[in-house]
């Protein structure tokens, strides 16, 4: 099955993706982003969403976790402080295992450990 990819975000961050061949949808605030997501969720299989839009929509994004597709992936945007994606992984680990497995020895050290 061939799927399509899309990016939802504000003007600047999505432009470069558009040039790379990903369909781009502009959404300047979270309300707009929710509308756009609802509209395109059926047509696109991989949807990138900039972090500052994904953060307030966390609850809404949970409903996409039920089925394999579409995959909604928060990505950092040029200006945001980031860290939301990491939070998601961390919360998933906490839910599944009951404990935080990566963060007891500091985030940076954990990265080095996995690279070795």
């Amino acid at each position: 099955m061939t799927g399509k990819m899309a990016i939802v975000g504000d003007g600047d961050s999505i432009m470069v993706f558009q040039a790379a061949g990903v369909s781009a949808f502009a959404a300047e605030n979270e309300k707009k982003a929710r509308e756009v997501l609802r509209k395109i969720a059926k047509d696109f299989d991989v949807i990138f969403l900039t972090e500052e839009l994904a953060r307030p929509l966390a609850d809404f994004l949970k409903r996409f976790d039920e089925a394999p597709y579409p995959v909604v992936l928060p990505i950092p945007s040029g200006k945001g402080d980031g860290g939301f994606g990491e939070e998601l992984v961390r919360s998933a680990a906490e839910r599944a295992l009951g404990i935080d497995i990566f963060f007891n020895n500091g985030p940076r050290e954990a990265t080095e450990e996995t690279h070795q």
Binding site: G3, G78, E86, L88, A92, R95
Partner: protein
């Protein structure tokens, strides 16, 4: 623990014993499944985290560079230049099974000329680098999407499975055990009562 509301008969006892047997076996199976899922989860979650840090670092650098690059040209012209992509990225989407759970599996297939959507004189050359870097980063992004979704789905499934295991271990099995013990007691009590009655009747006949 509450005991089930059943008649203390041999029939019920037999039924309950069979149910207990199934429950214990199911509990063991589910527990094993949970262990294996957690093992896989840890592996995948670690990969997810490493990949995310890598991608995030690269992407935010690219986006910063791109912002600088496109600030040289006026916004309307930049938008016009980027509006029509010359290449389309397609993703091959299928599903893989992890412990009976359908997770996404995506691979990238790039089509089109691979060129830039604008003429060279429209935008500064720094923007070209950003675009090609994003194209190079796309496979990693897609891989991240795949892994992260799998991790999230697996986390949900582990949670659900844990609930099932606990329900069996702390509710179903104790209940069944207690009911079986109760029926056994009741039956042996009935038997003793019957014996005493017979002895009494026999004693009466003898005198």
């Amino acid at each position: 623990m509450a005991r089930l509301n059943v008649n203390p008969t041999r029939m019920e006892l037999k039924k309950l014993k069979a149910r207990l047997n199934t429950a214990v076996r199911g509990h063991k199976l589910l527990k094993d499944k949970s262990d294996e899922m957690i093992r896989r989860f840890t592996v995948m979650a670690r990969e997810n985290l490493a990949l995310r840090r890598e991608v995030e670092g690269e992407l935010s650098r690219i986006l910063r560079e791109f912002q600088v690059a496109r600030s040289v040209t006026p916004a309307y012209r930049a938008e016009a230049a980027f509006a029509l992509p010359s290449q389309a990225v397609r993703a091959e989407c299928s599903t893989a099974s992890v412990m009976g759970l359908d997770v996404p599996k995506i691979s990238l297939s790039q089509s089109g000329s691979g060129g830039l959507p604008y003429a060279f004189f429209e935008i500064t050359s720094e923007a070209d680098y950003s675009v090609s870097k994003v194209s190079q980063l796309l496979p990693k992004l897609v891989r991240l999407a795949e892994v992260e979704k799998s991790v999230r789905m697996l986390a949900d499934e582990i949670e659900r499975n844990k609930r099932r295991v606990n329900a069996l271990e702390y509710v179903m099995i104790p209940q069944l055990e207690e009911t079986i013990a109760y029926i056994r007691e009741k039956l042996s009590e009935n038997e003793r009562a019957a014996l005493v009655r017979i002895m009494k009747v026999k004693g009466k006949n003898a005198t």
